[in-house]
């Protein structure tokens, strides 16, 4: 077993891997989806797939926010950045996401007023400092990040800062999981549940996966041992014919979630009737928009957003990779036209995207090994 010695507790890792091998029944093929991009990154970084039996396959799910954002939304955001009074702000990951005419970073290099921020509160501060300009914050992320946008909007209202608005691209994880469960031809046995999203929403919202679809889900931490232990818990459920929500990450994730965060989300946001996901298409009630009470701070209501729809480059197979139908290197562009340095598809942009993670830890290592030979 390669990599095992670099783990903090190789003995426990070895025991968990052995337990997985013992529980995985020969003759049965297991397909388990890790929903969260952070897990995808960790799985590739630690080479965890190399510790698993051949009949246990990990499918990398839709839990990387920049990866599931359709290119048209980036273009819409960049259209706002062209307005003379606007200063456009976004997190670092968004800065590198390709739009039709380049990423926000490239637009910035061409002179657009675009700033990277580390917190939505920094964007609000920028608005305070530039009362003659209008600051747009390109909000993105699952329930992990949405409460920070909600609290920032509450603060903007409290301080009466009106030259600030949010271009909201927050999405919610539950409808995406349901869409994957309902998609034809998708056969999954179980889920490794997201860690940080669950600190906010808790474990209860996953109950439908067990009750309605009869599949286990185990909310997991990010350490290699956490992920392996979660797989052990899943395989034990499958072996016993159980389907339950279990919490392997209870040291951080409370069963009921974070109530102040949920209250802030409820006060500021409501569900959009539908929203487009890259690779998954339109999913009803899967994204957040600002409530009417916050219309003043909603970029989409203050400005006319073009509502651009862009189909992905034909050759890029991001959708198939996102749904786990293809492995990253099976895409025609992987490692050739599409690399982390020059991403064509969003799965190459973020370290949490399956393609970038695969490229960094598997593709490059294989290339280095072939050079050494």
């Amino acid at each position: 077993m390669k990599y095992v010695d670099e783990f903090r507790d190789p003995k426990l890792i070895r025991q968990a891997a052995e337990e997985i091998r013992r529980l995985a029944r020969p003759g049965r093929h297991y397909r388990i989806m890790e929903v969260c991009g952070g897990h995808t990154h960790a799985i590739y970084r630690f080479g965890l797939e190399g510790l698993l039996p051949d009949n246990l396959e990990l499918i990398h799910g839709p839990g990387c926010p920049v990866c599931v954002l359709p290119m048209g939304r980036t273009d819409d955001g960049l259209a706002l950045a062209e307005l003379p009074e606007v200063i456009f702000t976004a997190f670092g990951d968004v800065m590198r996401v390709p739009g039709t005419k380049g990423s926000p970073l490239e637009h910035k290099a061409r002179g657009a007023a675009i700033r990277m921020v580390y917190s939505p509160l920094d964007a609000l501060k920028l608005a305070e400092a530039h009362p003659d300009r209008h600051v747009v914050f390109f909000a993105i992320g699952f329930e992990t990040t949405a409460p920070s946008t909600a609290l920032t909007l509450l603060r903007a209202r409290e301080l009466g800062i009106r030259n600030f608005s949010v271009f909201c691209n927050h999405v919610t994880i539950i409808p995406a999981i349901r869409a994957i469960l309902d998609s034809p031809g998708m056969r999954l046995d179980a889920f490794v549940g997201p860690g940080h999203v669950s600190t906010v929403i808790g474990c209860r919202p996953y109950e439908f996966i067990a009750q309605d679809y009869g599949k286990p889900i185990v909310v997991s931490g990010f350490e290699p041992l956490d992920i392996l232990q979660s797989l052990v818990m899943i395989l034990r459920q499958l072996a016993a014919g159980r389907a339950e929500v279990e919490n392997q990450y209870a040291r951080v994730v409370p069963w009921e979630g974070n109530l102040p965060a949920l209250r802030a989300l409820e006060e500021v946001f409501e569900l959009r009737p539908y929203f487009e996901w890259r690779g998954l298409g339109f999913i009803s009630q899967s994204a957040l928009k600002l409530r009417d009470a916050f219309a003043e701070w909603d970029s989409e209501r203050r400005y006319t957003v073009p509502g651009i729809r862009v189909t992905d480059p034909k050759a890029a197979q991001c959708g198939e990779v996102l749904k786990g139908v293809l492995k990253p290197p099976q895409c025609k562009l992987f490692g050739r036209e599409c690399t982390p340095e020059r991403p064509v598809g969003a799965l190459m942009v973020s370290s949490e995207g399956a393609c970038a993670a695969y490229y960094h830890y598997v593709h490059r290592a294989a290339a280095a090994a072939s050079l050494e030979r």
Binding site: R8, H41, R45, G92, D122, T145, H196, R251, P260
Partner: protein, 92 residues
């Protein structure tokens, strides 16, 4: 995107209880602790920080484990840049 950075609470702001000074690997910055208001924090407590907000309370051992994870994932430098990059303060 979903970086969770472990930090130790140094002190809570006197006039704005939703702000606290945290220390991450020797760097001190203000973060918003409003999401943990149901279980008030004190100096010496450890939290996980995400985009300027403390998201969860963790143990000291959990904080060490998280810092080590970030280093192994090659995200420790990015995490420090994020902490150092927070610009909001008492007035925002």
């Amino acid at each position: 995107m979903c970086l969770a950075i472990p930090g130790r609470i140094v002190e809570l702001a006197q006039d704005r209880p939703q702000l606290a000074t945290v220390e991450v690997a020797g760097v001190r910055r203000q973060v918003n602790v409003d999401l943990l208001r149901d279980d008030p924090l004190g100096p010496g407590d450890w939290v996980l920080i995400h985009v300027g907000f403390a998201m969860s309370r963790i143990s000291e051992a959990g904080a060490e484990e998280q810092m080590r994870m970030l280093a192994m994932l090659g995200e420790d430098e990015q995490a420090m840049q994020e902490i150092e990059g927070y610009r909001f303060g008492p007035e925002t």
